[in-house]
Each structure stands twice: as C-alpha cells, then as structure tokens.
Symmetry: C2
Subunit: 115 residues, 2 copies
Amino acid sequence: MTNHQAVLDRAFHALSDPTRRAIVARLVQGPASVSDLAAPFTLAMPTLLQHLRVLEGSGLVASRKTGRVRTCTLNAAALAETEQWLARQRAAWEGRLDRLEALALQLHKEENDHG
Amino acid sequence: MTNHQAVLDRAFHALSDPTRRAIVARLVQGPASVSDLAAPFTLAMPTLLQHLRVLEGSGLVASRKTGRVRTCTLNAAALAETEQWLARQRAAWEGRLDRLEALALQLHKEENDHG
C-alpha cells in the first residue's frame, strides 16, 4: 500500500465517527484545549482522549502541551486530501455523464437526419 | 444519532479501505459486473464480496442481479454527501483565515496610524 493510500485510510476512518467529526467541525473554527473540546459532549474524558488519539493518528489533528493545557489544532492539508480524492471521483462521474449526454444528442441527431 | 450522521458514518467508513476506494473509482466510470470489479485485484472472491457488502451497506453502491450477472452502480448522491461535509469544513476554515487576515491588516494599519 502506498503512503498516500494509508493517509486516506486513516483520515476517512477518523471521519467515520460523529464525535470525531464534531471535534473537526470545532477545530475548523480555531485551536481548542482538550477541556474546550470536551465541553459540548457528555462523554467521559477517557473516551474523548481516545477519539483525539485516533484524530492525531490520522494526521487530521495535532496537539501541543504547554504547562497543564493541551491545545489541539486542525491540520487542514490532511482534511483537504480527503476532499480532493472525492472531488476527483465527482469529476470522473460528471465527465461520464457529459459523454453520455453527448452520445444521446448525437443519436438523436442521426435519427432525425435519417428519419 | 441523526440519520444524516449515520449516513456519513457508514460512507466515511466504507471509504477507509483502499480496495473499496478502488471499486468506487471504477464505478464512477460506469456500472460494472462483480467479475469486472474483481479483475484488477488479486483478492479472493469472498473478500471482494465482503467489500461490496460494506459499500452497499453504506449506500455508496447499489447492485442488481440479472440472470447470473450481478451489476454494481455508484450512488453518486451518497458520495456527494461526504464531499459536501468536507466542503463545509473547508469553508469554515477559510472563513476563519480570512477573518485572521483582516484582523492582522487592521492591527498593522492601527500601528501605522499611531506610529
């Protein structure tokens, strides 16, 4: 498996959980301490830390401890890789629809020409 | 959990595997039989069918059996939902960067005005 595939595997896996998506949605607004991130959830702290570990392992989130406070930040570039993969699939899909439409128009024209 | 969250959970989970992403990348080119999908891989058929079950469970792929041939098609709308979620996060992130830039410019201007 290429490294790029492994990056996508981990990023998509990290995004497959609603709590982790909520953490990402909070971090796009700016860095946050672990306590800030915990506030909107009714999760036990160990569960939240487990989700943060998955997010850090995926490269979507980085964290740094200063004194007693651990601050988490989003790695927007890693998030962008997943979006780019999806955008490529959509472009291929739309290209196919365009070709089908062109083919349908051509068949219609040929029918009229010979009709 | 809302239904929309469950849809995203399953779609992102389905995309967290390189074989399943390769199947999606094949199906954006058009429908394919299970044998067509199997051809580029060196996977045992039960493994491929397991991946197809995950993709069908996620709503990203649908399949229909006609005679002895099962044909798989992409559900582009389900794929679009994951891209839209990511696009919303990027828009929020870019909005934040724009606000930071505006703030930096304002601080710079104030410094010059009072300097």
